[in-house]
Symmetry: D2
Subunit: 279 residues, 4 copies
């Protein structure tokens, strides 16, 4: 597996370049950033040089298309997707991810139909550039009732949705936080084939009843109660060898400089990958 960072958990970063440099300095091999942003700022050649010099690869870009609102918003975003995908492909990135909110103000069945159509088209465009689309199910209980109607939040529902979307390049983003808040087990990961997983997020959760876990109250790996040893060992056992990037969503910015937080992240990864025997 390729250890990596996202901006979430590193405090206030000045730029993606800083994220790449910190990741490199603290022996990560992957970052999740916008390839298009990097290419726009640096040009493709310089962006490639930066990544190569720092021995960093882009794990995943975020899906920039707004698929949760109306057709107008969707089409506006769609027009920009080929350029997003082309930039990712130019920088060697083969993953694009988006998350699924577990409830919605829209009628759930109708929204599911529309989202199916929209995400299929996004997947088809991404696929032309050799990029897979990862769908992240979101487990925290408070979000299941945050909006009017329940949508979907379990892994099985998401796998069934991926079947319904029916593009060959769609899979899961598996986030330890949602694995935990869905009260999933190691056996659930064993049930997957590695190619069903597009991307993995890692983080930790406080020792509170699972129904009280808040989405934006995440801890660094090893600081909480998630069985990350089981999580990582299960991923390894099924043969997953893609990126595992840290995503620490918090209500307030974490304390410390980006440098200190990157160092802390390194220690966190060493702890949990070490405990899993994966170093």
């Amino acid at each position: 597996m390729q250890q990596g960072l996202t901006g979430a958990g590193l405090g206030k970063l000045e730029s993606d370049t800083q994220l790449i440099e910190l990741a490199s300095r603290y022996h990560f091999s992957v970052v999740d950033v916008s390839a298009k942003g990097l290419v726009d700022r640096l040009g493709t050649d310089e962006a490639l040089s930066l990544l190569e010099e720092r021995h960093i690869r882009i794990g995943a870009i975020g899906l920039s298309v707004e698929w949760r609102k109306g057709d107008r918003e969707f089409l506006e975003g769609l027009a920009a997707l080929p350029a997003e995908a082309a930039a990712a492909a130019a920088l060697g990135c083969t993953r694009c991810c988006t998350y699924i909110l577990p409830s919605t103000d829209l009628p759930a069945a109708h929204f599911m139909a529309q989202a199916t159509k929209r995400l299929r088209l996004c997947a088809e465009i991404l696929g032309a550039y050799g990029i897979r689309l990862g769908l992240e199910f979101v487990g925290p209980h408070h979000l299941r009732t945050q909006w009017k109607h329940p949508f979907i939040w379990t892994m099985q529902e998401t796998l069934d949705w991926i079947d319904a979307i029916h593009a060959p390049n769609v899979g899961l983003l598996l986030d330890a936080f949602h694995w935990h808040t869905n009260e999933m087990e190691v056996a659930d990961i064993h049930s997957l084939k590695p190619e069903q997983i597009v991307h993995v997020h890692i983080n930790d959760a406080r020792d509170v009843p699972v129904q009280d876990v808040l989405d934006n109250d995440r801890l660094y790996p090893g600081e909480g109660v998630i069985d990350l040893t089981g999580f990582l060992q299960a991923l390894d056992r099924i043969g997953y060898n893609g990126p595992v990037t840290q995503e620490i969503l918090t209500a307030a910015a974490p304390e410390g400089s980006p440098e200190e937080l990157a160092a802390k992240s390194r220690q966190a990864f060493d702890k949990v990958f070490g405990a899993a025997g994966l170093v």
Copy 2:
């Protein structure tokens, strides 16, 4: 348009042969029956002869696959679908229809994903035999809360679902009863292209507030308050020239012999098609 009968509204019929004979005697050109049932009972050649002698065509078969329950039930039905489709094709029938209950005990979004996948596969198999799949949205208000979760019941939702299913041979079954209970207008039909309509049902509704209209309390065309003149003229204006079959769902069997009910249906059709200037 091709005027036609279903068994619903003709009382207790002895067989599909009786339905075909009554339809013929009362100058209908179409019936909705199971092609497979006819072929199994009579053989393809005799079934064809019967239809040809009586100048009757099969408007639509029903989708025999159970797509609303579990995967096991779905796969059992799926195995029989090619033979159902082959029988329909052998008898010249190019339509297969199913209805969408407006609420469900299953989580709505997840069920939508599963139903999308299942109906797509049914459509693909039907398509190989030159048969289109018509989806019937169901409007009566009491059914919208009959099961735990609202599903979909409007024409626009159904059109969006058809987009999500994304097979080239899926369209609407437009039933006057659901047009009425959805409080739709002539303009809604004008917004359609004729090829979006796979099949049409006709019937009538009591003069009660629309939210109190019961699905199984239908009247014969012209007996109630549905603007069937507007309905039929709109279908004609957009160029729809397929079957329009009578479907009278009632709690108790209608009074009269099948012969009497067929005669009554003929009068009903003459009345409403006549009023619409379509004879």
Copy 3:
């Protein structure tokens, strides 16, 4: 049917604006131009005003994506397609067309597989903007051996390909010249449903053996031997009511000013639509 013009047959036009003005002056209701070109030059609002003032609609845009060469060329064009489609949609255009060369220097089966994948993605993107994709089969015999390997050129092959592409919004561009050079009959048009036809081209051919008809040696409607009466009546009979635009490909520029050629085109349309009883 909506009578229309393309630039092919009007000599050297100064701009699309001139084409629109000439079409309007000579009582056409449709032109085939690049919507994106118009929007880029005039802005959406002014382009819309121009079209509205002149009572002209855009019949079809051309598919700007290069799908006949390598993946690199394809992806470059693909990135621009959403903007092309958005411009078309903004101007009310719902058709996009491309032609199929009947032979290729690439291995035919492999090219078919690649072209299938590419055109499907183009169709999916166009479909998100409400635009259909029309595929034009190309009949002239000399083109069937112009490149190394035969590809496809008949209507049935093209319909089968459309099935293989399997997007709901793909159909035929039916060009009278290719109907003629494929030695097709009125019955072939009768076999179509109107929604299978996305767009129609009209023109005429010299009185030479069909195998000697040259693709770029076209005449104005009524000047040659194509049974345009049968062609137009058949289109009318099946219910086709979309655009029929003139496309006169010639080796040398036609004689006369654009104004004179537009007047000549009007006379040509009057002649052949008149003969078909369609005025």
Copy 4:
């Protein structure tokens, strides 16, 4: 990887039961047989018992649908596919394979379009039962000109076709004989992700110029010149862990009893897997 046998190379077998017993006795874990055949003869329960007692799994069934001829033949076979797939699923088999002849008497591009449509539908049906479809490219040079028009025979062409078919459950059947006759290298296997390979065949080829290698003149693994060490090591390196079954096509029946030939096959597997360090 799971070592396995097919009937091809074992002489005249009395039944699939004999194949299963021989495979078991000679320490293979997989056989390629018709699941439907087994279920029809023994019933599902007894078939399952036989496989479990002998510690044998079914590697792949053959695609029973005729997709290379006309629509009639295709549809006849299609009707039987769900039962074939259901039998395979009931016996735990998740693979179905078919081979691609490298030339055809049909026009190549048109046949590619039709075959794309047909194999997609087969794949969709198989997918509903959890079964993947493996396409076997066929390399021997003499078959490339055996019929009128070249079709496809390389791995890259086949991968592009799989993209065009565009069902999520289609991949390659990689046969050592076709890897050899296509003059492929270890690097070609390295370029694959393991999930792109549905199934693997193993065998060997005589020491003759590659253009003279005959499809039905195959040797047992280790008897010929194919770099099976490189082949197997490459499969292992990319993480392929599915079945590798022996397929020895020969003009005349091989000498020896099925028992002797099974023993010979065991020695052959021990030799080549041993040389690859995979035991």
